[in-house]
Assembly symmetry: C2
Homo-oligomer: 342 residues x 2
DNA sequence: ATGAAAGCGCTAACAG
DNA sequence: CTGTTAGCGCTTTCAT
């Protein structure tokens, strides 16, 4: 900065004003200083500007690497944050690095707000975080008044999925659930409600699953516990659906001919042409944008009416849902499952 | 800091020494100050310590979120960096945020070294970066003397895969390649060399693929261009292999009974029980550790003998490779492929 | 072992 | 519009 100022024959303050695009410099000084800075390869020291500025203009984000839905969200967050004049600090949650640790890092950098994509275990801890800085959690539910929530209406999403299947003629529809967690229980409830609404309570069946391909694959095995295979399955998320499909297909059970499968998230994986998963879309980029806007609103003291923004999900119909085959598969036909490798 | 010092009745300097575990404080002062700091909920301001310290102790990492191999690497980098007393700054490469942009962020934070997981396009730009700070690229090859490289021996890895298949009795083995990029061309060469070594040059066939499931799925279609289906395929990476398998299985081509498939990376996805992909392992945690150690070595001025560390890959045999079926599939049998949905 | 003082590179009030 | 003056919260000599 000093060097640039010297070379341009002006004060450091002017250079500072110019490089960060603040008001108070003539257009000519501006271009001249900018040129000089550029040719000197000057880049402001983030640490110093962060420290000196009264505001850090930093939004912290916790995420799980390798989670396709988080990839979409982060992309959207970067874009939206930039539009609002904020920078993004990423903090990964890994098997050996918990959410708590991840958030501490964000705090240490004095992020002004936090957006949590990775699920948070403890509600009480969430209160502590929410009390320290504006916090918005994305994709998960929480009644915690200390944090904002951006999520899709999980119950409605499941209803869309079930309605679609019932509309196609399905009656025997199972749900592979997501285990613990607020969104998992919401989706489970949405499934139950939808089945009830269609008068299919007796057909209602929840199989314990989880958030990964592995969980979906394991759940496939439990599908054969009853005497008859259902004609359709709605799963907790896309990854779970993909795991399920993999096993089914390897077991010579055709999707969607023998069994329709619906995922949840409309993540990158669902969109792959050869997967073509029918799924419930949560519109990641919109959620990302809303999360950033909410964080900014809290920071600028804008009026916020509802703590929680619940988006209406919509169904993306692709290739894994179809009319049920007439007559459901008998258990005996599934005997191939066990022995089959891929 | 000031407050803690006041409360403990000591100077700020002493507190500083204690909280960051530096030498020069009695054990009693240490515990006492630490207790006070803890109960005051004191957390040092990262921005200030970064600025004041002559060293930032920061290692920057560029990565692609949703890339399973990167997830493994980042986990290892966090762990290794911590052991070496460094912190990690993540910078994501997304469709709308190039590597260049990602690295600039790292530079702005005055990271002392950079570890690039995301592939870098321009060699000349790489030289610029390498000249500015110790840079180590992981998983990709580069003859650029400005950067260090940690990678596995791609040619050897492909040889392992081909050897394994030949050992099982396969002769008609295709390679679904990774397109452009140094590691892709290395693996392609490794495949060709191995085929030649086994006297199978005339069976040698490379199908253009790519790094994603989608690419693998597309490549599956091209598999049927010849009159006969090969008995085995070695792919550019695990994601490509999974995409290929998906299509094959949906086309009633059993893996590995009709066709053996071998992936590359041993990423999380390959390890999923229902996938059980035979694959070439690059040992992510070891690569991560070596990358950090190399960065630290450069920073501490340790002697570095070889710019490039090439690890010996090893084969992880799971369920997608087996003996070839006697007599290969004829083209006619593949007619189901086109029409089949999932 | 502890305290005092001088910055790290920048921003943000102000006065000119 | 420009330059001057203080800090931001911490680290790091250097005395004590």
């Amino acid at each position: 900065l000093e060097d640039v100022a010297a070379r341009a024959g002006v004060s450091r303050a002017l250079v500072s004003i110019v490089v960060r695009g603040a008001a108070g410099a003539s257009a000519e000084s501006r271009t001249r200083i900018l040129t000089i800075a550029a040719e000197m390869g000057y880049r402001p020291d983030k640490r110093a500007s962060l420290l000196a500025g009264h505001r850090s203009q930093l939004i912290g984000v916790t995420l799980v690497i390798s989670h396709p839905f988080h990839a979409d969200l982060v992309e959207g967050i970067y874009a939206s944050a930039e539009r609002h004049g904020y920078e993004v600090v990423l903090s990964a949650v890994t098997p050996s690095r918990g959410v708590q640790r991840a958030v501490e890092t964000l705090l240490d950098y004095r992020c002004e707000a936090a957006i949590l994509l990775a699920p948070v275990v403890s509600e009480s801890w969430l209160s502590t975080v929410g009390a320290r800085l504006p916090t918005v959690i994305v994709g998960y539910q929480s009644k915690n008044p200390a944090v904002d929530v951006i999520r899709a209406a999980d119950r409605d999403g499941m209803r869309l999925a079930v309605d679609h299947l019932v509309g196609l003629g399905h009656r025997s529809i199972v749900h592979i659930d997501g285990g613990r967690g607020s969104s998992a229980s919401d989706r489970r409830q949405g499934y139950r409600q939808a089945m009830r609404a269609h008068g299919l309570v007796d057909q209602s069946r929840v199989i314990s699953g989880g958030p990964s391909e592995e969980a979906g694959a394991k759940a496939a095995g439990r599908l054969f516990d009853g005497s008859e295979l259902p004609t359709a399955a709605v799963t907790y998320n896309d990854r779970c659906a993909v795991g399920l499909c993999d096993v089914l297909i390897r077991s010579a059970i055709s999707v969607p001919r023998d069994l329709s499968v619906i995922g949840y998230d409309d993540s990158q994986i669902a969109r792959l042409p050869h997967i073509g998963l029918t799924t419930v879309s949560q519109d990641a980029s919109r959620m990302a944008n809303l999360a950033v806007e909410r964080a900014v609103a809290r920071l600028t003291g804008s009026e916020v009416t509802e703590r929680e923004i619940v988006l209406a999900p919509h169904l993306v119909i692709r290739g894994t849902s179809a009319f049920p085959r007439t007559g459901s598969l008998l258990r005996t036909q599934s005997s191939k499952v066990r022995g089959s490798a891929f």
